[in-house]
Amino acid sequence: MSVKTGYHPQRVDALHRHAREAIADLISIRSSDPAAASAMRAVVQARRNLEDQWLPLIMAIRASNAMVTWSSSLLISFADLAKCFGQRLSFDDRTAIATPFATMSDDDLLRELYVAGHLNTDGDGNGSITERIKNGDPFWSDEFPDLATELATRVAADETFAIRLIDEIDQHPLAAIAIGHADFPPSFAQAALTGLVKSAQWSSAVHVEAIETVLSQILTASPSAALDLLGDSAVLAALAGATTLDTTIARDFVRAGLYDAVEADRTLLIDGWEVLQNLTALADGQFDDGFHPGMARGVADSMFGYVQTLAYGIGAGIEDDAIRMHIDRGDSVGVLGDRDAVANLFGTVMRDPDAQVTMGIVLGAYTDRVINDLGASFVNRTGVESIARLGLLFRDGLNDEQAELLLAAAAETARREQIGDLIGFSAGAWTSGSGVGVVTRSVVSQAVSSAMDLGSEVEPDDIVDTSFGSTTYRGIQLSVLRYVHDHPGAHTELAVDGVSAEQWADVGRRLDAIASEPNGALRDGLVQDLDNLIALNISALDSLWRQIAGHGDMTRLKEIGRRSQS
């Protein structure tokens, strides 16, 4: 049976008045006649039921009423209530009608909170509070939800109490954990997170659980709030340097702010850039061992959205010292940092192996996107060289050859997957709970495998060059060839209409073979064979490629060999 839930605020106010008058009326009924004893017991019982059952319910409703402006003429539906403050008043039989916490003073309630947070959890080895609740532990499974509900009610109804709780949040991390078990106003969660991360009590399990609880709540309820919080330099620094934070939660939170919020509202892109600007400054001189893995992976995930305008902002030449921030293809809105600082930012992100693979995937997807966006005009227009600039920027942040190999392998694997559609803020690539979309998950595993292949090639110079620069260069070359092969209508414009049908068929077969060859060394051999075929037998394609490869950035990319050789 379902029962609709709702109430009319003014009528509840009137009911409150009538109930109190009824109680006073019952109190005034007296009789000492022994024959009236039974009747007087009924009178007392009726009075107690009003005092203990009715008044707490009415007062809870009236307290919640303080948060919102109600329609005066309509019964507020439960759906409206849920919109206003998240189903806090669910009048079902899961919650007790009155709890001991409801009658406590604010001081007593906070004392109860302090004792529960400090005496019932520290070092007793019984697991997290979430686990205690799940396990049905005494207090945590029965009383704590009531305590959380009472805190939420007072926070919503009493601004002074809410401010006091935030001011003392480092003493009451349990209040932040309560956010996961009752419906607090969103602004309280944001304020609680700020206070908790700034207190930097990363060695306290309760504090860390509190931070994780609030991060989870915010990233789910409001990605734009997550972006706001990342915009706070102190919060950003604390999360970047956290030592014990859950990686998945931190990653999801960072991505929610940097990517999901902007995906939902593109006007927030400038806020996202400002976070990256702050992060660039943070990485300069600190974090030699990298950011917290969650921060690193969240930033890397988000680069799918930022990479187009990042490449646009690198500037006309790689020697340009400043990398500028762009909202679109219009004028820049500021400087992200000088080139070394931005390279260092991505290097710091890529200290984490997972983030490194993701950045490689971003580069590969971007390569595919640029070639397909430019179409037949890639010969004449600026664009292809931006791939080279971006690749060089990423590469310059890395500090070892193995990392370069992994980045190159991930980029090449992603490029062959033709996942250019993931680039931008409307791809919805990051909607899965794990934070890695279905397509990119498969790319990650292939990329790691390819990197192992590349890394195992110990013969130096007599085989195909597997350096980052060479791999990226070849990737661009193959993407161009694939585009030209797949678009016969562009052949005249590209001046390759002299290539015979047999030659195109041969090129197509070879491209397919390269794309499907799992072994890196064999694939490189196939690429070299294709190079030779074009150079010696298909002059029109050779000429086309030389036009593209003649750009300075492309030349530099090709010339970057293994670090040991450079």
């Binding site: 109430y7 006649d33 079902d92």
Partner: protein
């Protein structure tokens, strides 16, 4: 002339009837008028109203009981009066 016991019984009967009327007219007996579906809805309001109705039924039963007891007191007083009339010297 009525004896003391009969007078006391009638006084008690009168007090019980007054108490019954007082309870019958108490505000709690009409409180549900302000607690209908146009005021609140849901499981807990429903439970609260049901609890109120139970209390009202109990009180109504007690009101009937008080009035019945008052009637019995009056009957007893009347019997005492009759006995006193038949035996004038035995008034208590």
């Amino acid at each position: 002339m009525p004896g003391y016991e009969a007078i006391e019984l009638r006084r008690r009967a009168q007090r019980l009837r007054h108490l019954a009327s007082r309870i019958d007219a108490s505000l709690v007996m009409t409180l549900e008028r302000h607690a209908g579906n146009n005021t609140w809805r849901g499981w807990r309001p429903l439970l609260s109203v049901n609890l109120l109705r139970h209390d009202q039924s109990q009180l109504a039963a007690e009101v009937e009981g008080l009035r019945w007891q008052a009637y019995l007191f009056d009957q007893q007083a009347a019997r005492l009066d009759q006995a006193a009339a038949l035996h004038p010297g035995n008034t208590s």
